[in-house]
Symmetry: D2
Subunit: 145 residues, 4 copies
């Protein structure tokens, strides 16, 4: 669990951005947004990013499942300010891919999240469809500078 | 985000175990326990493990903060069956440590979670107290066999 | 939203009891279990109570939906102590029924919850099956004394 | 738990409106937004409404606590569409008040929520401050027509 590279904290690295509300119930006893709630916001941002790429799992009769999530908390975040979550594709494999994302509050990066998703059909893991692969390549993570 | 080593899926690797209920609200539209809910269960298990080691952050006037969480989903999990969450210390640094844990349902490993915690005092990061370090060493992760 | 009658705060009024864990994520910035989290615990207790009465909606090809929830918070509740949630049937109509419940922590009532559930078939609301009605009558709320 | 009056399902009845995102984690196995998640959205809308009235509990050294919540589910609601939550003051007592609110999705009322809040100082319940009472009166629920 190495700290994220500095360029991962820059909005320019990402192809897509979406804004999400924080909720009072996201706060914990330390008065900041709890890391589990941040995880729920990254999940919704990821689904919006998948919609943006023109694919929705249920339209395809295929199941997409989360295989791994790796979160780094960079700074404390607060209610009631919204999160801007930037997303890009960080890796494309044969049957899985990684969404790399970063959350910002008031312009400051508060967390990064890398999520590995695998795709299953009726007979287990299945290859990523070619049209989806092309959409992913068009939204790839870019190291700025 | 490499897959966890096979021995990490064995209860024998861990020093501590605790049982947690699943909730109906943990389920998502795919009918399994959502990965965000699993994250909330690992969080509570981690706090119980810290209590077990005889330390509670608020007793010490020191803030413990989560710096990173890395989750691997190994198998689908279901409601209403409880989770048995096994925990151990996976790493001890100067100002931070890692809790390595694994969740089981009906005896099968469904997920692993590694959480890095850092300790802060009034002047920023502070060294781990010696008594806490000893308690952690007594609860270290063990590769079975 | 009148306060609950005093006898509703007594465990003896209820036919069924189940125990549920509190989670760290249930806490809010006031340091007590948040009312939304309490609502999630009542929901899971209600499902266990329905199982206890021998009925599960999905077994019947019938949809059960929550129509109304009325919660009263009687005392502050805390982590990490579990909740004992007592449930009974408070009302049986033609197509709907009410689960009356109360949550206790360390023997003290912390909240009550009344939930109205309606049953739907393919053609809209449907009558409660006779065997379910009998099971409900056997688990009716009882004013002690 | 009587059904809400028809005029409570009209946006015109309310003094204040705010928009909140739904999250994927809000869905349950029936594919609709879970009633507990709706409760969390009403809570955040309520806090925004309190800010709108110019009062925030922590600024005043006074604790505001939820005493009761009564929810009616009017129609099923869905992800990823946002909620428009309309709020007004429904009742003002000596030490407590009620926020009456209704949630809309795509212009249709999906739920109503009445929340009773009580105000506590160091010596228990305390009277509502006069300036807050005036702000509440200016935001009172209005039966349209």
């Amino acid at each position: 669990m190495a700290r994220p590279d500095a360029w991962r904290l820059s909005p320019e690295a990402y192809a897509f951005v979406t804004t999400l509300d924080t909720r009072f119930a996201d706060l914990d006893t330390m008065g900041h947004v709890n890391n589990v709630a941040i995880s729920a916001m990254f999940e919704t941002a990821r689904i919006r990013f998948h919609h943006h790429m023109g694919r929705h799992p249920q339209e395809q009769g295929v199941r997409w499942m989360v295989a791994a999530v790796s979160l780094n908390y960079v700074a404390e975040s607060h209610f009631p300010y919204p999160f801007d979550i930037h997303c890009a594709i960080g890796h494309i494999g044969t049957t899985s891919w990684t969404i790399s994302s970063a959350a910002f509050q008031k312009g400051e990066c508060v967390a990064t999240c890398d999520t590995t998703v695998v795709t299953h059909g009726a007979e287990g893991r299945r290859q990523i469809a070619e049209t989806l692969r092309e959409a992913m390549q068009a939204n790839f993570l870019k190291q700025p500078g």
